[in-house]
């Protein structure tokens, strides 16, 4: 990725895989994102935290070109999300907040569709691996609309990682999973990052964020309240949850 600093300028060059500058998104009279500036390093498991309605989903949608920012800019993997949304989406994996696989396709057909559009050569092996890993192979011939929420979420996980993206953006990754599946998915995410990939998740489950994330940002009413490394908060003996609550409570009175 491009380095923000000229070579030899002294500063260590941190490669930002995701770079957000003064991003603003206004829906009618709601400001969902308010001048947010944020950057995520390569290899991070980054958690975007915030209460309901704070703008997390809007951030993920803006970063993947699904909504058009009202102001500011964002680059993902060096591509501008406004100028080249399709280019961004071809590189990254996305799991949206609402798991909406096409109703009338079976799980298997949906993954085939994704494989065809993303031109994944080893789609069969990938698919088999995911059916086995997330234990939903027996649902491969069931229509998506007849799947349970958890199974739909599994399917959305599989579709996002089929092409082994270097960056995955996941809106609330664990919310529909049972505890066993949650462990499995957490392991997968940790492992995926270890291989040098980057993961950007949004969540309001702070224990999970504290457990798996390396970096974090806190949004509140569309404003960025804080961003940093999880370790910097927890090293001081504080839980991310307490830190978050104190921030949001203070932020709420601004």
């Amino acid at each position: 990725m491009r380095c923000e600093h000229p070579p030899g300028s002294g500063d260590a060059c941190v490669t930002a895989i995701l770079d957000v500058r003064d991003l603003t998104k206004v829906y009618g009279d709601t400001t969902a994102l308010d001048n947010v500036t944020l950057s995520v390093e390569e290899g991070a498991l980054f958690g975007l935290l915030g209460p309901n309605g704070s703008g997390k989903t809007t951030m993920i949608k803006s970063l993947t070109g699904q909504v058009r920012p009202s102001g500011g800019s964002a680059t993902v993997l060096g591509r501008d999300v406004v100028a080249d949304p399709v280019g961004v989406r071809s590189q990254v994996g996305i799991i949206p907040e609402q798991e909406t696989p096409p109703s009338f396709l079976t799980s298997e057909e949906y993954l085939h569709l994704v494989g065809a559009i993303r031109k994944i050569p080893d789609i069969e092996e990938q698919m088999t691996w995911w059916f086995e890993y997330l234990e939903f192979g027996e649902k491969r011939d069931v229509l998506c609309k007849d799947l349970s929420r958890g199974t739909r979420q599994k399917l959305m996980f599989a579709q996002a990682f089929l092409h082994r993206p270097v960056l995955a953006l996941i809106d609330e990754p664990l919310i529909n999973f049972d505890p066993i599946m949650q462990e499995k998915v957490k392991d997968f995410l940790a492992d995926y990052v270890k291989k040098g990939n980057t993961i950007f998740i949004s969540t309001h489950i702070l224990e999970i964020a504290e457990e798996i994330c390396s970096g974090f940002a806190v949004l509140h009413k569309g404003k960025l309240l804080s961003t940093g490394r999880v370790a910097d908060v927890t090293e001081g003996g504080m839980h991310l949850g307490d830190y978050f609550l104190s921030l949001v409570r203070a932020g709420g009175h601004v």
Binding site: T64, Q66, V67, R68, P85, V86, G87, R89, S90, G93, I94, I95, P96, Q98, T100, P101, P102, S103, F104, L105, T106, E108, E109, Y110, H112, L113, V114, A116, I117, R118, D141, V142, L143, K145, D146, M156, Q159, A160
Partner: protein
């Protein structure tokens, strides 16, 4: 129960009004009122050409058709909303969590559709007619009677649609049998000089007995469909064969074979392949053919075939709605696809679907003993259809089903389509072969479609 009804009414209004703004949607009845009023002023002019009786027939047939379409669409809308806004988003779904039986919910749904569209469509039409009646030399009692008989026509269509779709949900064979029986009954009655279309009979000669009979038909059909209603998912096949890969291979000449295959699967598995062909294609065209046949004496030779071909083209262009109604951009938004890519693939799937109108026109031409003019009829039908598609794509992007309710868009659509249509019909009345001039529309349509792709690519997609 009444609360549920009120909530459903509000929901219906919000669904429509959030799509394009309440003001825009509220203008819809005004538009119908204006059209009916202006049309009625023309009655004295039309009369020498088309007897008042025939005009009444056409109007009643149109409201019957309207009822059929609203009924069919009403049943589909649940599925559509679920598709677009996620599960349990409509009250018909959400109400299942309430201590109400499926039948009560459905009854509410039927009553809601009836009242809603009555206020939106039937009432403004009659009001427009009533306003013009004194100026057109029509006694004021006529609009009052018309309000009654048109409402009955509309209700007959609505209950018929509910009835047929409930039969369809039970068994396709049963639907075929019932359809044949119905067609047979109508035909025999027609031969015997008896009209089974009671609302019209009532309009021509009011009698309490006919009124009772017409109401009974509606009530019986509605009662039957409620009786036939089967609580959800009783007999749904749970497992499905993988069809995407083989279908995509077969569609490989198209630019996005996998997307086209998905469209085909959607049509098949949602039941719209049969349902839409019947309710949005064959039945409307049947009614149109019937109305046109009344005009036959006034048309030049082969005129009826070409006029019908042009109108079939218009109806065929609405097949774009079939392709988009179960689809939202949501699932595509995770993939490296732009809006224009999805639209392009829909246009390709549309092209494949055009085999249906092509075969249909061929059949009609042969059956009507007009095989000699098959070629111009085909060219006219398909060109008009493609041009209609282009206009729809440009005006409405990926959500034609909802946007066509927007009166502003509708007026634009009618103007864009009406002008060339009239020109072509006049041309083909001069000489059937002149209809081939319609290929020009293909060129224009191509240009409009490209403009549409650019226009919608630049828009943010709602609905996920």
């Amino acid at each position: 129960m009444f609360e549920l009804f009120l909530a459903m009414m509000k929901e219906e209004w919000r669904v429509h009004s959030t799509m394009f703004g309440s003001l825009s949607f509220a203008l819809y009845p005004v538009l119908i009122f204006a059209i009916a009023c202006m049309g009625s002023f023309l009655i004295p002019l039309i009369r020498p050409l088309l007897p008042f009786g025939d005009l009444a027939l056409v109007t009643h047939a149109l409201f019957l058709l309207l009822g059929l379409m609203v009924g069919a669409f009403g049943l589909l809308i649940n599925e559509v909303m679920e598709r677009r806004f996620g599960q349990a988003s409509t009250l018909a779904y959400a109400a299942r969590t309430l201590p109400l039986s499926e039948r009560v919910i459905f009854l509410n749904f039927v009553v809601k559709d009836t009242v809603y569209y009555f206020v939106l469509w039937v009432l403004p039409f009659v009001a427009g007619f009533a306003l013009a009646a004194p100026f057109a030399g029509i006694p004021l009692a006529t609009p009052a009677l018309l309000l009654l008989t048109l409402s009955l026509s509309f209700l007959t269509g609505l209950s018929m649609a509910f009835f047929l779709s409930m039969v369809y949900a039970r068994s396709k064979v049963l639907l075929a049998a019932v359809s044949v029986l119905l067609a047979g009954a109508i035909f025999t009655a027609h031969l015997g000089g008896v009209s089974l279309f009671l609302p019209l009979t009532l309009f021509r000669a009011f009698s309490p007995v006919t009124l009772a009979a017409a109401c009974a038909v509606v009530l019986i059909l509605a009662a039957l469909s409620i009786a036939l209603l089967r609580p959800e998912a009783a007999a749904r096949a749970k497992h499905h064969r993988e069809m995407l890969v083989p279908l995509a291979r077969r569609l490989s000449p198209l630019p996005y074979p996998a997307l086209a295959a998905k469209d085909c699967i959607d049509l098949l598995r949602s039941g719209s392949a049969v349902g839409q062909t019947l309710f949005s294609f064959l039945i409307p065209l049947g009614v149109i053919w019937f109305c046109l046949s009344l005009l036959d004496p006034f048309l030049p030779a082969s005129g009826i075939l070409l006029l019908f071909a042009a109108l079939t083209g218009v109806v065929a262009s609405t097949m774009y709605i079939w392709l988009t109604m179960f689809d939202s951009f949501g699932p595509y938004a995770c993939l490296p696809l732009g809006v224009a890519d999805v639209m392009k693939s829909k246009v390709c799937s549309f092209a494949v679907l055009q085999l249906l109108p092509a075969a249909f026109i061929a059949l009609v031409a042969v059956c009507a003993g007009e095989a000699a003019h098959l070629l111009p009829a085909l060219v006219l039908c398909l060109s008009v259809s493609f041009y209609g598609l282009a206009v729809t794509v440009y005006l409405t992007g990926l959500s034609p089903n909802v946007l066509l309710y927007d009166p502003r868009v509708l007026v634009l659509y009618l103007l864009a389509l009406g002008a060339p249509l009239v020109a072509l019909i006049v041309l083909s009345f001069m000489n059937p072969w002149y209809a081939t001039a319609s290929v020009v529309l293909v060129g224009v349509g191509w240009w409009v479609v490209q403009k549409g792709f650019v226009k919608w690519e630049g828009r943010e997609v709602v609905g996920y």
